[in-house]
């Protein structure tokens, strides 16, 4: 039985943008899930939204808008 990696290699050459773009999307999705976990952990430890935002390199508004509701925080 071919491994899934072989399957993709067979389905599309490694230089196929379709595979490359799918990889970008998978990385982004993985990063998003990690971000949720880490932001919640930081908030649980008392980090301010400002501190979380600076660590992520985004604005306080952006991080608050994205995560406050899922934590049911004001």
């Amino acid at each position: 039985m071919a491994s899934p990696t072989d399957a993709v290699a067979t389905a599309a050459a490694a230089d196929d943008p379709a595979v490359g773009l799918r990889g970008v999307r998978a990385l982004r999705d993985l990063a998003d899930r990690l971000e949720v976990l880490q932001v919640h952990a930081a908030r649980d430890r008392g980090w301010s939204w400002q501190e979380v935002a600076e660590a992520l390199g985004v604005s306080r508004q952006a991080v608050h808008k994205k995560h406050a509701r899922s934590r049911k925080e004001p």
Binding site: V8, R22, G23
Partner: protein, 168 residues
């Protein structure tokens, strides 16, 4: 468009939603439509099985697509998962299942447009699960391609079989 779908094709769309939800996806993708056809007992599902596709194995292969494309970049998803779970607990990295109705991705919408086009091209008014499958094949999705390659099913051969079964 859905008013022209047979019950069989409507069933595919409903099952695609269930399949997508079960895998934690946030959208219905072409692969979910494909798997919904594969586990169904319509004409399209029968042709898929005749072409040598095993639905259970297809489902397993589909779930490995994310890990596979990440591995191509040198990212070991299982390693990431085990480290994250060591900190945050079992299942921490699993996608959250979304409440409510899942939307169709752009590619899945395009699959459905191609479904309509394939029926029109064959001069048929009603759209069944074989047309849905033709529509999915028309968009050349990476996930679908990987599942077909995993089981040595040639998409062109599959397309020919689907069109032949319409002519019969």
């Amino acid at each position: 468009m859905f008013e022209r779908f047979t019950d069989q094709a409507r069933g595919v769309v409903v099952r695609a939603q269930d399949v997508a939800r079960a895998t934690g996806a946030d959208r219905i993708e072409p692969i979910h439509l494909f798997l919904a056809v594969a586990i169904g007992d319509g004409v399209g599902g029968t042709v898929l099985r005749d072409a040598g596709l095993d639905a259970d194995r297809a489902r397993t292969a589909a779930q490995g697509t994310e890990a596979t494309v990440l591995a191509a970049l040198g990212v070991d998803l299982e390693l990431v998962r085990s480290r994250v779970e060591a900190t945050f607990g079992d299942g921490a990295l699993d996608p959250r299942s979304r409440p409510g109705h899942l939307r169709f991705s752009t590619a899945a919408k395009r699959s459905l447009q191609e479904t309509l086009r394939s029926a029109v091209g064959l001069g048929e008014r009603r759209l069944d699960d074989a047309h849905v499958l033709l529509g999915v094949l028309a968009v050349r999705d990476v996930g679908v391609a990987a599942v077909l390659a995993d089981q040595d099913v040639d998409p062109l051969d599959l397309r020919r079989r689907l069109i032949a079964c319409r002519a019969a």
